[in-house]
């Protein structure tokens, strides 16, 4: 029979971390297999086709689409400069009086000219795109014309939710314990360009001060939804984030509202205080789940880069779990039993449950509302 389980978020002091850095379109890879790279190093680049601007030449010259070809002064593939003559008619009575003409409004090239509709497509110059390594590591695979795979050995923390894109910086822990709120007075000028660590909650005023002082990233247990709305200026509808342009990356390790950061996460961040790390806030919760991440590179030898085979996460008696919904959200417990038969919980929902020892009490919790803490 099926075994219900919930894989938890990964928090570990050592992992073989592997990341694909791929171009949106085919281009040039600038590094070779075996190269050692820093997070800011360029690994691949390309240029995206420029925007297309349609111009209906027939309308502009007041002729039929079929006549357009004879009036065109450029053809598909020709390079363009702003103001260049695109088409010109023969003028009144064909003697060149009062000629009408159309000039290019952009730099770029001619994409196509249609005899069916009299439409001319102009394309703006290509847009360069560069992909950086994001982590310190080694290039273990080059995908020709597409990108690379970078690997390293890292301490690694997966968050539950984040906003804004990739950033790097030195880790600085600002709270004494994981249940402390990160208040504005704790943000000082020496936090500039750092990834700062708070405890249970980082409120709006703190975030604003951090942004003002040039903090690159905030790692927090919880955050209020109301504050996220204030920061972004809109309510997050669907959980696809990472594209925001707020200027400071925020990563929540636990969820919304004041929730104590898990001890394991807090202690790991404390252990690596002062180290350079990479982080991002990209979150997607649906097919192809993406969670925000903190990657803290460790010293390693190449032969250490062997990823262990992934194991299934199984709920077992004696295993550690964290409660991920009320009541008891955020609390840690030890599994005491795994009853086979579904039971009714307070909401009368009939579900499979487990019993766990949580802070000295025995609680019955739906299995769907816990996640496993890997040792």
């Amino acid at each position: 029979m099926s075994q219900a389980y919930s894989a938890g978020l990964t928090v570990t002091d050592s992992i073989v971390y592997r990341i694909k850095r791929i171009l949106p379109l085919k281009g040039k890879v600038t590094v070779n297999k075996g190269d050692k790279v820093k997070s800011g190093d360029l690994v691949a680049e390309t240029s995206l086709p420029g925007n297309v601007l349609p111009m209906n030449i027939a309308n502009k010259l007041g002729c039929t689409p079929q006549q357009v070809a004879s009036y065109m002064k450029v053809k598909a593939g020709d390079k363009l400069e702003k103001g260049m003559l695109l088409a010109e008619d023969k003028g009144m009575f064909g003697f060149g009086f009062f000629k009408s003409s159309v000039r290019s409004p952009i730099d770029g090239e001619v994409e196509s000219v249609s005899p069916l509709t009299g439409q001319c497509m102009l394309r703006e110059p290509r847009i360069p795109v560069q992909i950086k390594a994001f982590i310190d590591g080694i290039i273990v695979e080059v995908i020709p014309e597409e990108g690379v795979i970078v690997e390293n050995k890292s301490a690694y923390i997966q968050g539950i939710f984040g906003i804004c894109g990739e950033t790097t910086g030195e880790i600085k822990v600002l709270v004494k314990d994981p249940s402390q709120k990160l208040t504005p007075d704790l943000i000082t000028p020496d936090c500039a360009e750092k990834l700062v660590v708070g405890g249970s909650l980082t409120p709006y005023d703190t975030i604003l001060k951090a942004k003002e002082l040039g903090v690159r990233g905030i790692i927090t247990g919880g955050i209020d939804d109301e504050d996220i709305k204030k920061i972004l200026g809109y309510d997050i509808g669907v959980a696809i984030t990472g594209h925001e342009d707020f200027g400071i990356t925020i990563l929540c390790t636990e969820g919304f509202g004041p929730i104590k950061m898990a001890d394991k996460t807090f202690n790991l961040l404390k252990q690596f205080e002062g180290k350079e790390a990479s982080m991002h806030g990209k979150t997607q919760i649906r097919a192809g789940v993406i969670r925000p991440e903190i990657i803290i590179p460790l010293d390693f030898k190449e032969e250490e880069l062997v990823a262990p085979t992934p194991k299934d996460s199984l709920l077992l008696i004696g295993g550690l779990i964290r409660i991920i919904r009320q009541p008891g959200f955020g609390k840690i417990g030890k599994i005491l039993s795994l009853p086979e038969v579904p039971i009714n919980v307070e909401s009368e929902t009939k579900v499979r449950v487990l019993t766990a020892e949580v802070e000295g009490q025995t609680l019955t919790i739906p299995r769907a509302n816990v996640e496993l803490i890997e040792n």
Binding site: S2, L53, I160
Partner: protein
Amino acid sequence: MNNQLLKIIATDCGSTTTKSILIEYVDGEYRQTVRGEAPTTVEAPLNDVTRGVVNAVQELEELARLKYNNPNIKFLSDGDEKEIIIPREGDVGVDAYVSTSSAGGGLQMMVTGIVAKMSGESAERAALGAGAIVMDVIASNDKRLDHQKIERIRELRPDMILMAGGTDGADTKHVPEMAELISAADPRPRLGSEYNLPIIFAGADMSQEKVKSILEKRSHLIITDNLRPSMERENLGPARDQIHEIFMEHVMQQAPGYNKLMKWTRVFTEEKKIETVPIMPTPGAMGNIMQTIAKLGEIEVVGVDIGGATTDIFSVFTPEYVFNRTVSANLGMSYSISNVLASAGLPNILRWVPFDINENELRNMIKNKMIRPTTIPALLEELVLEQAIAKEALRLAFIQHKEFAVSLKGVQTQKDISSAFDQQTTGQTIVNMMTLDLLVGSGGVLSHAPRRHQTVMMLIDAFLPEGITRLAVDSIFMMPHLGVLAEIHPEAATEVFNKDCMIALGTCVAPVGKYKPGQISLTAEITLPDGTVFKEEIPTGEMRLLPCELNKNAKAKLTPGKGLDIGAGKGQPIEKELPGGVVGIVLDTRGRQPFVLPTEKEARISSLKKWMKVLNAYPEQILN
């Protein structure tokens, strides 16, 4: 009818779970006997949808062995590369295997037309009816500038594009112009970078050659019959068929493991041949079963499937059993729950909550559900809140459906003196709640509500049925399976639908019209199956629940209050048999057109508690 089919397996490969059911011919009837499920495996690390199918079918196999105490029952072949055994020999194998799929985000399409409200809307209807999510409708008159349209086409990465526009016999420059915009954008398909994007052209016959010359080299172009051959007629069938074919041939081929799965879905025919059965998009199959129910029962039906990410609404209204489907892509109960809050607004959600709650806490609760979508409400308060959110998601999705399910726009009508008074125009909604016979709910929050009474409450509050309407719920979410089964065996699909899938909840009676406070809105004299007679003059603002068990009817004489209507006209009485169900008969005099809740908080909470107590929706402790 194929009488050889004694054992059938059907699966639905959803985004997160693959659900399997076994249908068997037992004692002269088709019944759903066993159900299994397993996580879908379309993504890394397994990247093969058939792994999840094997796991779900393996669970069926184990449960069937237990049920019949027969260790010889076997559906899967031995070895590492397991597959479903067809044909069947005794206990080994099955006679047919069919499947639907919405894994990996389902079928995503972009459609184009000339006039957004005419050919654009017809193209959208064709795509939605085929089971797609429509990412955008690009039309010549949609007020976007050409370069904006090109940018939009480029940024979308649909599975395919459906082009419409122009009536047959007429030449138009707009269709080739749109083809040129698409060609300039050079859109790439969502899955697989190595193949050309399929584009179906179902527009004006005289534009076919021009479109061909523009798009043939850059895409996989398919030309089919015009889906709007004249302003007065839609012809969506050929375009829908092409969508299904391309879904199978191109889109599914790109999804991990589907190559294999497409070879597995087969039926052993009466001619003793094995034939392939196409995989259908899940919503397409749901639409199929809705239409089958409506046609066989000669009734008007509205069905809803509320999932974690999307809410699909299906309707079939006579005459001619016009079918419509809408998908509200961002209204759902987990992944999209936060969007329900953003779209409906906090006050609209709170109006259904019978207690005070801190708004900040509610916002955080909703977001926590979004980021941990598989959690379930263990606390009663959280269940009530989730069901309040569900009511708003359903209400908003139904508004979208009513706006979309309209008569054809742009039809020329002859005006006479009488039409000048009734103000009828083209493009009116065809959803008529008064003539609606059956409202069917499906999806986790409706199918798995701890009390069926809660399902009734959510359906009534969200859809506001008018007059006399039967209510039902999909017992364990098997409508998609039956929809695809209907393709090879409609009788088996209908039999299982009626006996195992659809649970009758009861009947709702609600007078329509302007209510006055203190007025008697409904006089009911109802003889229940056990002979008890219920007789009451029910004032405005009340609800009553009468027990009337499943498969039994109550005899009712219903007289609406002055100026109100329950189907026979204002103030006219109706004598009718009201079908019962697991909940019973609900008499609702809270108002329709308009339905109004008290605006003052204390009065609203007090009314909600009163109605919830009557409906037996929640335990007393939360309603005192």
